[in-house]
């Protein structure tokens, strides 16, 4: 349970090596945190992340295999985590950054990217939503634009992200009254390992950043308009459903923003 003063006890991270996820876990209050599960492909990064969180004094930090592309395994994977105890916060932070030229040259590569970023996220997202509903509480934090690093704006594979964003919004609406809620995080520019080596274009940054926040702002306004419930009770956290955090800059800044919301 997340207690009356906002202290969570358990967190599941999908995309356990994600820098943003790690920064978010670090930004959470830790005095009641007793279990963190980092799920992802085996890697040096995920092991480092686990060691880092363990060193912060969190009593149980597990790493577990999760393959976003293997959708058939998602049900058993999610059950395995939830059967060991309620999960208060799920951070959905995985994704791959497709290479535009490579994807256009080799459609199977494009399918791989789409499978992980959209199909995989929808599959595991639904499995998690079902378990959150069953336990009657919990927060699903969706990093909508996981590859929203410094990818070229024109990358056509980004369509996955907008589809997934729409899916996450729908999930939040479906969960209203379930005790569980969805937070969609739409980061702007984030400088991470994933973005290393990608060109940094200052003028693009500015224009893209403003467009993103405009879009998010409009989405937020629209959401308030549509969901009269959230007007009557201004704190979305009580009613479930969807809330949005938009942030830019660094994984730490996003982690902080998400941590504050939770």
């Amino acid at each position: 349970m997340i207690d009356a003063v906002g202290e969570p006890q358990s967190v599941l991270v999908l995309g356990g090596s994600s820098e943003i996820a790690l920064a978010t876990v670090e930004a959470l209050p830790r005095t009641r945190l007793r279990r963190v599960v980092l799920a992802g492909r085996p890697s040096a990064e995920i092991d480092r992340a686990a060691a880092h969180l363990g060193a912060l004094g969190i009593p149980s930090v597990e790493t577990t295999l999760f393959d976003a592309a293997d959708t058939g395994s998602h049900g058993a994977f999610v059950d395995g985590v939830f059967d060991d105890g309620d999960v208060d916060i799920v951070l959905l932070c995985f994704g791959v950054l497709g290479d535009q030229a490579e994807a256009e040259a080799d459609p199977t590569k494009a399918v791989e990217v789409a499978t992980v970023n959209y199909t995989g996220a929808v599959s595991v997202g639904l499995n998690i939503a079902q378990r959150l509903r069953r336990q009657g509480h919990g927060k699903l934090v969706v990093l909508s634009s996981v590859a929203g690093t410094r990818a070229p704006v024109e990358l056509r594979l980004r369509v996955d992200e907008s589809r997934f964003d729409a899916f996450a919004q729908g999930l939040g609406d479906a969960l209203v009254g379930s005790g569980a809620s969805v937070l969609i995080v739409r980061p702007g520019m984030v400088r991470t390992r994933m973005s290393d080596g990608l060109p940094e274009r200052a003028h693009d940054d500015r224009s893209r950043s403003s467009r993103l926040s405009d879009r998010a702002g409009a989405a937020q306004r629209q959401e308030r308009h549509l969901r009269t419930r959230s007007v009557a009770v201004p704190d979305d956290r009580r009613e479930g459903g969807t809330s949005t955090v938009v942030s830019t800059l660094t994984p730490v800044a996003i982690g902080y923003a998400v941590g504050r919301w939770l």
Binding site: A4, G6, R32, G136, H137, A174, A180
Partner: protein, 457 residues
Amino acid sequence: MTVESPLMATDDDRLLTGWGRTAPSRATVRSPSTYDEIAAAIQEAGPRGVLARGLGRSYGDAAQSGGATVFDMTGLHRFELDIDSGTVTADAGASIDEILRAIVPAGFFVPVTAGTRFVTVGGAIAADIHGKNHHVEGSFGSHVVSMRVVDGTGHELVLSPTDETTKDMFWATVGGMGLTGVIVEATFRLLAIETSSMSVDTVRCHDLDDVMARMIEGDDDYRYSVAWIDSVAPSGRGVLTRGDHARREQLTRKQMDAPLAYATPALPSAPAFIPNGLLNSASVRAFNEAWFRKHPKSRSNEIHSIPGFFHPLDGVRDWNRVYGPQGFLQYQFVVPDEAGWIVERTLSRLRDAGAPSFLTVLKRFGPANPAPLSFPHAGWTLAADVPAGNEALAPILDELDELVAEAGGRLYFAKDSRQSPSMVARTYPRLAEWHSVRDQMDPRGVFTSDLGRRLSL
């Protein structure tokens, strides 16, 4: 063909919170109309389990259980007064409020009442509630003669504190927060009263030391005693009110026309929507000042009504809403006499946090009863209401927990919404003993609550 969405809420789904309105969770709420229905539902319980809920006056997450089936017990509320034995036998869902309305005119009073009469009999036992007479007469469970409880296998047990074979289960259920079984009926002893009036002595005390000294010195002379403390004033000044049920000779001739008349005031409501932050330092300061001034400096043998003396806040319906949508919590601890300094420390640390306490109440407890999880122990108990939205609060309460634990004190489960499992393990030394009885009564772990999960009970 349409498939029912597994994500959508069903008609029986409710988001439940405690009185503090923090940390909601969803449950399937059922309103059983027979004990058999409860037994059947327990036998069919799913992996999220079941829990009984009364009037939801526990402040935290004691009467909610995410994903579980929660029985709204208030539909089962018959009760019967036995004048000869001076007892009431009541369904667990019967409230102290409705019982008082029936028994006061007949010359009886409940053995223990909390600061609200909107508490069910089942809740009073499960939380082992205490009142202003704890220093003399103990907590509610000490006055229960027997109870019927449906255990985790769906069987009905009759438990009594004097029966060797059931007394361990009886005491595990008293203060057991609903986790040993569903209490469906209880018989408890009443107090015979001559009048429905209270004879009250009031004294305004200029600081906290004055309050505490007077309580140590004079509490034994009174059946009921409690002090209200001004949480805003650094002096910790307060108003001590003590009294007993008035005898007939204390009433005026006019009052003697109907010495046992009992009426509860009509309830004005708090406004339906109050924004966060309305209850700020300024408004709390003003309230505390007014509350202090409204009491006489010193007055003896004043006649008060039962609701006015015991249940002043019941006069405002939904007063818990004044804290706004982020809700509030009540920090209530007990510490032994020698650690009375923690009372002052708590008040000053809450002031440091800018966490204004609307109502702060201090009381001396008498000895504990045999229930392993019963809260009251001899010493000082302080209860302070604070808004949950205050970000400085969490670390300060953790710091105070440490002092309380170190001093051999503990927190009250019925008020708790944020302590840690390790705090419970440290401060309830008989937890293992309670676990073994609970496991015997509920071998499948059917009874679950958010409180139980959060604190690994």
